[in-house]
Symmetry: C2
Subunit: 435 residues, 2 copies
Amino acid sequence: MTKRSVNIGLCGLGTVGQGVIELLAEGGDVLRTRVGADIALRHCATRTPKPEINTLGATESRDVFAVAQDPEVDVLVELIGGTTVAKDLVVAALEQGKHVVTANKALLAEHGETLFALAEAKGLTLRFEAAVAGGIPIIETVKSSLATNHVTSVAGIINGTGNFILTEMAAKGREFADVLEEAQALGYAEADPTFDVDGTDAAQKLVLLASLAFGQRIDVASVFKQGVDSVSPTDIDYARELGFCIKHLGIAKRQGSAIELRVHPTLIPKSKAIAQVDGVLNAVMINASGVGELLLVGPGAGSRPTASAVTADIAAIALSIAKGDQPSALNMGIPLAYFSTASIVDIDHVSSSWYLRLEAEDTPGAMAAITQCLSERDIGIASLIQKLDSPDVQRVPVVLLTDNASTAAIASAMKAIEALPSVGGQVTSLRVEYF
Amino acid sequence: MTKRSVNIGLCGLGTVGQGVIELLAEGGDVLRTRVGADIALRHCATRTPKPEINTLGATESRDVFAVAQDPEVDVLVELIGGTTVAKDLVVAALEQGKHVVTANKALLAEHGETLFALAEAKGLTLRFEAAVAGGIPIIETVKSSLATNHVTSVAGIINGTGNFILTEMAAKGREFADVLEEAQALGYAEADPTFDVDGTDAAQKLVLLASLAFGQRIDVASVFKQGVDSVSPTDIDYARELGFCIKHLGIAKRQGSAIELRVHPTLIPKSKAIAQVDGVLNAVMINASGVGELLLVGPGAGSRPTASAVTADIAAIALSIAKGDQPSALNMGIPLAYFSTASIVDIDHVSSSWYLRLEAEDTPGAMAAITQCLSERDIGIASLIQKLDSPDVQRVPVVLLTDNASTAAIASAMKAIEALPSVGGQVTSLRVEYF
């Protein structure tokens, strides 16, 4: 009952769609060998005509739903983005009995529950390797390679724009706004970069990854977010002096039966490999009961890297079809009936070490008052830098690294410190993770 | 036609075998959920009785071939090591129609051609995730996640003992022999550490990985090997001064239709994430046509990390069996009929940048003579350190980084430099890769 050709319907011919066509064309021979069948581009749809793109002889439509309705299409590839038409399109494809591959993290973070339930009910595959960390095979790693592990945490640089900005700030001492402008000019950041900057994009990917890793339903609104724009070149410099790099991380961690979910700038010791992941690269670190710590690094976006992940999903489905098997509908690793709803730890009760920066009078009394605000709340100090500026300056910068403390305890200590007469202005705080 | 229990036969109850039992026991519930069937430890065999190990109710044998003959066993797990009995055991298991999982890189590097051919002929799965880089899912990544890519190179820290030794030497300025002794005391190195030190272990893993990545048969004897014992603390220090770390890498690279295969100490720029991979950790970097560069980092050995990979292989087979499918016999990604025999580039024709260290008289004439030896062979100089020692020393250390040059050209230049009257003793050389 093997099938000689597996037919692909491609919706969306943007940069990723074009990459998919390239890789299918380049890899044709190898794919035929590997899969045991042709993978044929049968039908393409794009709202705006793109006559410059060679669609390998596929039928072309203006209406993406024509692809979902095409009886010849075995696998629909959703690359139109957004969460409205894309949702209707994926539903239509599944209703028509087609397997689906998507790179759309916003869609799955928002409507995953509905879509995965529909796919499972229909016995269909819904694959999404490209939706998290682009070309990095993190979904397959969690789903298959860590099948016998309990995952205890995932932490990742999962927004390339944010990492590019921090890398440039660190390398050249530039200000956030300045680098953001350059990132937009280079095409790394969207015209409206809000979702990259405020952590929304990273939160969507984190929820998808954590949901798979922990086997739980997670509401994307429950992720704590602190944007990459809260980092200044001054903090990058002090962090470096203390032996740390600052990265914008998405972190999901088990805490008993609940989980922590947070996206924020994080100080990481320079000696950790993830601290050396620069530019638009992404990286995901996993801690799991069997393997211990794994780190995967690679391109998190871009035409061909993202298409590499999309076409790997296509090839996996095609391999099953060509072999005469029904492709697996275990899209989230376990049947959805075994999914529970995650209990999320309130951010006030999330603990870590902290980096604090403030300005204080250069007197023993001032330092004593600051340390007392911390010790009264049982917060230990791990290291301290006090800059001895010129004598005509009234206040000097003080930088502290604390031991483990909850968000609530630190907030309370910061408020007390800010109220000290010997301290001027606000206290800046960033989380520190040693992993 | 689904099966309610998938039965495992485990041969070898050493550290990895015990890890496999642990993970199967701990993961029982999740595995049952994921796989849709029980994974039952049906039969264990070990030459030396180990009554202290709880084998979860399995039949116990002294003879590993009893496991291969057990009609109840679906999957035989080979963890006895070696290349003689292990080969007969895997052949026997395949002849009896059993799928096989092995962690034995020496076995597959030496007898892979026979064993994979037999497995394919019988339509059986022969999985080996744990054989390369322990807990890192590098086999699955190359086989599935890069299915549509052409791999152009792989380079990895694939011997944890060697990396531990280099890391200690770099951190503490210690000598090779001294650290090796500690590694043996800590159990990181074997009583006979020859294969870790001289690159044999890394060469076996490299051949397996390159064979899969390039779809070619490769003779393990064709790998060029330079041992980790050729690195001195002095070279580590100079490398650091130039902005590099020294790692012992296995490298496989396409050069036209042929491939380079080599295991040697390598200078890597500090800014590359792989340069920060320390201690017993392993790391594999892949360059491929679609994704670009991927880096995977994790534990390359140890009971539970290796068992994580072994049990992921078991789970993948069990998932197919439980679903009523025949597990895939595409053990090397493509049918063996499409495999070609690799043409290996002679090491003389392999090019890279080079690090050279020598002692020369501190005179303009001496430097001119050295640089002439290089320029006569079209070898450019990228950087140079000349140490100005105290005036009573006759010769001073000179350290050079060259541009790209073949092994043959460098060997010839080194010979010419060593013959200069202003140069004392031998020239030390190490390869440099920028990736």
